[in-house]
């Protein structure tokens, strides 16, 4: 189980490849890996975004992330998990977050990875500040429900 913040850019597929390779004891045990990768878009709420600053609360952020992963472990049959979140100055197309869950069966991995992502968005103390192409600098005021189309809000 690995929970980390990174001030440096990373390639999510390389991270996942390396992590899985290191966890030799998992080989043959897991049948399911569910992964979510969050990536910085170059637009938000109709505006072009050129760069982003991702602030956090050192200490509390790690504490909350650890709690969220532990809650997932209590609820689902998880073999291993990886949670890596970027902080600092971020450019479009940089990876913001990786959540990966390994389990024997798919339902546990699917549920747990989504639970971790949704809880992270609600509870982990991170704050995004966007610099727009117009030069305007603004704090993102809240996270969306995660769907492009409003129709999905009702779900």
């Amino acid at each position: 189980m690995q929970i980390k913040l990174s001030a440096e850019p990373f390639n999510p597929w390389q991270i996942l490849h390396d992590y899985e390779t290191e966890q030799r004891q998992l080989a043959g045990q897991y049948g399911a890996t569910a992964v979510f990768v969050g990536t910085m878009r170059d637009f938000n709420q109709g505006d072009d975004v050129v760069v982003m600053q991702l602030d956090h609360y050192p200490g509390m952020t790690e504490k909350q992330l650890t709690r969220i992963v532990e809650q997932a472990q209590q609820q689902w049959a998880i073999l291993d998990g990886l949670l890596l979140h970027r902080v600092g100055k971020i450019e479009p197309n940089d990876t913001l977050v990786i959540v990966a869950v390994w389990s024997a069966h798919r339902g546990d991995a699917f549920d747990a990875s989504r639970f971790i992502m949704e809880a992270l968005k609600k509870q982990a103390p991170f704050w995004k500040q966007e610099t727009l192409s117009s030069g305007e600098v603004r704090w993102v005021s809240s996270n969306s429900d995660g769907y492009l189309k409003p129709a999905h809000n009702a779900k």
């Binding site: 602030d55 509390m60 504490k63 103390p125 704050w127 809240s142």
Partner: protein, 77 residues
Amino acid sequence: MSIKVRYFASLKERLGHAETELELSAPLSAGQIWQRLNPAIPLPEGTLTAINMEYASLDSLLTDGDELAFFPPVTGG
């Protein structure tokens, strides 16, 4: 009784500083501490409160050595 108070993100910018040390002679709640430190600024709606890096309510009483934090809704991920 010594309390450390921290502000993050837009709240830090608005108040113009990131943290304050506060000496108290009697226990105060998180909400009372905000009022004492920022008498002219009502606590912005949606502000979150943490004591010692755990979410807490505005009614929670602070004790010596506690770290109190105020911050806007989180936007990670």
